[in-house]
Amino acid sequence: MSFLGTVREIREAFRRGDRRASDICEEALTAIEAQEPSLHAFNTVARDRALERARALDRERSRWADHPLAAVPVALKDNLSVRGMRTTASSRILEQYVPPFTATAVERLEAAGAIIVGKTNCDEFAMGSSTENSAFGPTRNPWALDRIPGGSSGGSAAAVAARMVPLALGSDTGGSIRQPAALCGIVGLKPSYGRVSRYGLLAYASSLDQIGPFARTVEEAAIALGVIAGADLKDSTSSREPVPDYAAALIERPAMCIGVPWKLLDEGIEPEVASAFRGALEVLRGSGVTIVDIELPHAAVAIPTYYLVATAEASANLARYDGVRFGYRSPFGGSTDLAGMYAQTRAQGFGAEVKRRIVLGTYVLSAGYYDAYYLKAQQVRTLIRRDYERAFARVDVVATPTSPTAAFKLGERSSDPLQMYLADVFTVSANLAGLPAVSVPCGFTTDRLPIGLHLTGRPFDETMVLAVAHHYEGQTTWARQAPPAAA
């Protein structure tokens, strides 16, 4: 099996002229080809486009040599638009959709020298925690092929964990970057709300969605964030906050104080996950980091709050898929009027979880229930934000496990949506409060399933979150371990 190397190794080799971008790209494509039959991480592999791009980089090596992602192969979650490249969100309704524009985050990757190799599998419209809700079949976990990779960005996480690519982008609405990163044993970062432009991201829940990177190490994630972050006139929710040099800031070692909401961790966590989490805290304490007990009283109700807010927004965002301007249209059959066409198009084009969330979201927004559900959830959202504001007056980051369990088996939870939703218990709060959060590997179960440490920071303080994660990573060897599929 080829070993592509890290982002830094790849760009240095390209800069020095030791490796051509075309060879690096071929290596990634070969690794994808070899493992794709067992993993199904990709919906589309853009082989020709990637090689053409690599040859262009080789032709103008001096021009690209000093770019931060020069010659680095990158995979994109299939809800990020790329002009001319099929973008499906893993839905039947967009199976043949080819966007006429490119997402800003993707434009920035390419402007930094990256080679886009393809689009990765995910839960349909990013709705799910296992990648089983894809219309094109599930992705499998590189550490155990009978298990899920997490979700919804499961294909991106699996592709990076299996060494198909060193870097991938995902989107995170309630944990969809961090949870699969944890379950696949890699680093996943959800930036602050507004940090990265969402222009060209297929919208799920607009007050929560954020684009972020997957990588094997914190440094690589920091490099990628530096490339994609920053204001964009095509997304009015993108922030004008200055973008620091995240990768350079990793070498600084600020005095760190970590808060742990112990009360929240009382129940529902697998013993091996709890034990790995306590072990990670011991490592941090042993290296001089202060650890204190904090309270996040409303985090316990973050799951219902999240599922009311997210489904309400989804029901509005997904109204656009109606068989008129793009995407699938039902053949008319017995019905010939417009309303019938809408209803059948959506019945045939959407999978079960998407329909379930649209129905729930429509219900909580409907007359008579709005105040009891949606407004109430938005008020509790305010209380969750205030909990964090209080905590961050005392501590720099908040630590929990990323997921209460390691990767579960395919099919284990797919018949019980509520059980599936509980997988997001430690990740949804960061979305509700708009905070940056990272998952970094912190151990394995006895079955060799990866476990993640979750660190949440102040708004736009990605620097601190990444610094703590990098500091922890430096004390451990987790990041250097490869799954059997890529060994």
């Binding site: 929710t237 109700v301 699938y328 938005q378 305010t382």
Partner: protein, 99 residues
Amino acid sequence: MPVAFTRADVEAVARLANIELTEEEVRVFTRQLADILEYARQLQEIDTTGVAPTASVLGSTGADRADEVVPSLDRREALANAPDGHLDTGLFRVPRVIG
């Protein structure tokens, strides 16, 4: 306080959302959504008197552009993904709306 979630609720909401559900979907969704809403009931126990709702966490630093006319999506490209798009007239065709 919301009352129990019923089969009729699912059917009414599916109509509002323009999704035709099968008998089986109505049956399963009624049970699953009732479970989820029952779980969400714990929010009712939280005192939110006088608490302003959060619709967005966005501060005042959003990147609004100047209100100026700029080139937009080309008509050919806008129609390229349509199931029944007509470049000659520049229209999306849909089934009859008025009988």
